[in-house]
């Protein structure tokens, strides 16, 4: 099993439908209103696909994150931007370079002050964002969350990776390669929610579906390569025949793999997320593989959701939205899917190469 792309059928279907509707809309009305902006047509009167899937050129869509210098966001924005361009609108990448909720909210509010059409936001804390998101929506700005949610707010949609699926996928990949038996260990990062879910699912999957595999050790590495290195050495001391180690993020993997190489162990290191170093190690065979969420889909469909929410006249679902006086767009959750990165496909995941190949300037445009 290599180069497996586990994209959930639901999203594909949704995407296809959306695209066909969009394209169809384009074709049918292109002759009459080539430059017409979506907002000029009134969907409320009950037209069927009679609108242009295109925004006005001065429409602004912003993507707001925290720790904005982190590479994870870049592929998200890349597709966010691509979708925005196809829709003929402006996009922008905003956020605070710091890991600070106060600053992220300040940036969010300052983006709101610029009165964009929509904001795709990664809320650092669910509750803290309730009020800012709600007040943006009251001002008529569409808000979609991604990668982290603020479920109690009135956001119009949420697109994310499914941490459970990620944990399951890692377990299956590891177990299959081990031939269904042996010993495994995990390095965890207690306290961070999405990491905890990945670990929990991984363990659950091993325990239920792979009866001959035993989880022999667990340790906290707290996203610290050095701690991971030491913990792995200890693992291998105890169980020299360890068959695999799973960890919920990439920094830990660098330290862990180093220890595995030094001990000349055959343990399969599997982590979540990638960076250039992890990719190099995967190519060198030091890391067995990595689960990588499909960030591009997150961005692309995030944009699409935003656009739809910002142009509610585009859809007319069979719901009570008219009576309830709310936006017809409301998608509780979309799974953006994931990839399993191995030696064979690792080259596709280098951000530099990817962005260069696309002739794009990344987040700078």
């Amino acid at each position: 099993m290599k180069n497996v792309k586990l994209v959930l059928i639901t999203i594909l279907a949704l995407a296809l439908v959306a695209m066909t509707v969009g394209l169809a809309g384009c074709k049918s009305t292109a002759a009459e209103t080539t430059t017409a902006a979506a907002e000029t047509t009134t969907a409320a009167e009950g037209t069927q696909g009679g609108t242009v899937y295109r925004g006005a050129s001065d429409e602004l869509y912003s993507m707001v994150v925290m720790v904005s210098g982190v590479e994870y966001w870049f592929p998200v924005y890349e597709m966010f931007k691509q979708c925005g361009r196809q829709l003929g609108v402006k996009t922008h990448y905003d956020g605070t370079p710091e890991y600070d909720i106060q600053k992220e909210i300040a940036v969010f509010e300052q983006v709101v002050a610029q009165n964009p059409k929509g904001i795709l936001v990664h809320p650092m804390n669910a509750d803290a964002f309730i009020e800012p998101i709600n007040s943006a929506i009251e001002k008529g700005i569409a808000v979609i969350t991604f990668a982290a949610d603020s479920p109690k707010s009135n956001r119009l949609g949420y697109i994310t990776s499914d941490n459970v699926t990620e944990g399951y996928a890692a377990a299956d990949q590891m177990a299959e390669d081990m031939g269904g038996k042996g010993k495994v260990a995990v390095l965890e990062n207690p306290g961070q929610d999405n990491h905890d879910v990945r670990i929990k699912s991984f363990i659950e999957k091993i325990e239920t579906d792979w009866p001959d595999i035993e989880i022999v050790n667990r340790a906290a590495s707290n996203q610290d390569a050095q701690k991971a290195y030491q913990a792995t050495l200890a693992f291998l001391q105890k169980d020299p025949d360890l068959g695999g180690i799973f960890m919920p993020e990439a920094t830990t993997a660098m330290g862990c793999a180093q220890a595995v190489v030094e001990k000349e162990s055959s343990a399969r290191v599997i982590c979540c997320d990638v960076n250039a170093k992890v990719l190099d190690m995967i190519k060198a065979g030091e890391i067995f593989g990595a689960i990588n969420p499909d960030q591009g889909m997150q961005g692309y469909f995030g944009m699409l959701l935003l656009f739809t929410a910002a142009h509610p006249e585009l859809v007319d679902p069979m719901t009570g939205y008219k009576v309830e006086d709310r936006n017809p767009t409301f998608i509780p959750k979309i799974d953006n899917g994931l990839s399993f990165v191995t030696k064979d496909n690792a080259d596709c995941f280098y951000w530099d190469k990817y962005v260069e190949g696309r002739g794009s300037k990344g987040i700078e445009e």
Partner: protein
């Protein structure tokens, strides 16, 4: 400069020296003018209020830092105490306590933390730097212990309590009003109250203050308590504003606060500083932050730009001070 006695200086320079804050006001106005030209959004009330909101809570911490720096000590634990206050009050609220009561209890605990730390640097004679570095770690650790590492969801806080951080009176956020009230109160205290005057004496020359019959340890105990209390107050507002008790909140706030005080004319060696100056300092930092968002400055450059501007502001101020004092 003994040669200068009895000779008055050019009055313009005198004004700059006297109202050091004027420099900052001019810098802020200049940036604002540039921003008005560059971005139509800058002068909208929405933007201004978001800038005000962004430093209303941090500003309270800055005031505590101002007082303790004037006294010639430093408190690096403020960010931890801020987070701690939110987590502790949040935990008590989730345990069924009235949020107002929980806040009061929390503030008392924070004041006690300040008192404990100042005990170490007055009676045991450790440096306040190392004492509060230790305090920073201990208090942050407590945050994680109490919250078990995950943010506390305080969505169920009553509306009355949320008003503290989220409400508005007319079009002005209540947090901003509360903040300004505290600013005016502490500024007046610092200028005219007997106790705060003693703080300046202690910071300017601790030994001379002692020789002049001032109980310097008592003053330092007071500023230690005030600083932690204000950090706790900021934490309570933070909790109300975000409806969450976040154990990892406000990391690095101590450095922002110290920067703001120093930009505003404070000194790490004590004896100098004013509330107005410090508030203008934090305002300057926030306006620059805002400008970078509005001008869509590339994320890679944001921290670099921030650092350069910080250096520039302090240098300009220093140069004009020097010219004024020749």
């Amino acid at each position: 400069m003994e040669k200068l006695e009895g000779v008055s200086l050019i009055s313009g320079l005198n004004i700059i020296k006297k109202f050091r804050e004027l420099n900052l006001i001019i810098i802020i106005i200049l940036i604002s003018i540039i921003m008005i030209i560059l971005s139509p959004v800058f002068m909208t009330w929405q933007n201004i209020s978001s800038v005000l909101m962004s430093f209303a809570t941090d500003g309270i911490v800055v005031m505590g830092m101002t007082i303790i720096l004037i006294a010639g000590e430093i408190d690096l634990s403020v960010a931890s105490v801020t987070a701690f206050a939110g987590v502790l009050a949040g935990k008590m609220f989730l345990g069924g306590m009235n949020p107002w009561l929980a806040s009061v209890v929390t503030l008392v605990v924070c004041a006690f933390i300040g008192a404990t730390m100042s005990y170490f640097y007055t009676k045991i004679k450790l440096s306040s730097f190392i004492t509060t570095v230790a305090g920073m770690g201990i208090v942050r650790g407590l945050c994680f212990v109490i919250s078990k590492g995950t943010p506390l969801s305080l969505y169920t806080l009553p509306a009355g309590f949320k008003f503290l951080g989220q409400g508005k009176i007319g079009f002005i956020p209540f947090a901003v009003i509360l903040f300004l009230t505290v600013v005016v109160f502490i500024d007046l205290m610092l200028r005219y109250s007997t106790t705060m005057r003693k703080v300046y004496y202690v910071g300017s020359n601790e030994k001379a203050a002692k020789f002049s019959g001032i109980n310097t340890n008592k003053i330092k105990l007071g500023v230690g308590i005030a600083c932690s209390f204000l950090a706790g107050l900021a934490g309570i507002m933070y909790m109300s504003k975000f409806g969450a008790g976040i154990p990892g909140a406000s990391q690095g706030l101590e450095l922002t606060a110290i920067s703001a005080v120093v930009i505003g004319g404070g000194s790490l060696s004590g004896g100098r500083g004013s509330i107005l100056g410090s508030i203008l300092g934090i305002a300057l930092l926030s306006v620059i932050q805002n400008a970078m968002v509005l001008l869509a400055i590339n994320v890679y450059y944001q921290q670099l730009v921030m650092g350069c501007i910080l250096l520039l502001a302090v240098t300009l101020d220093q140069l004009s001070q020097r010219r004024a004092s020749i």
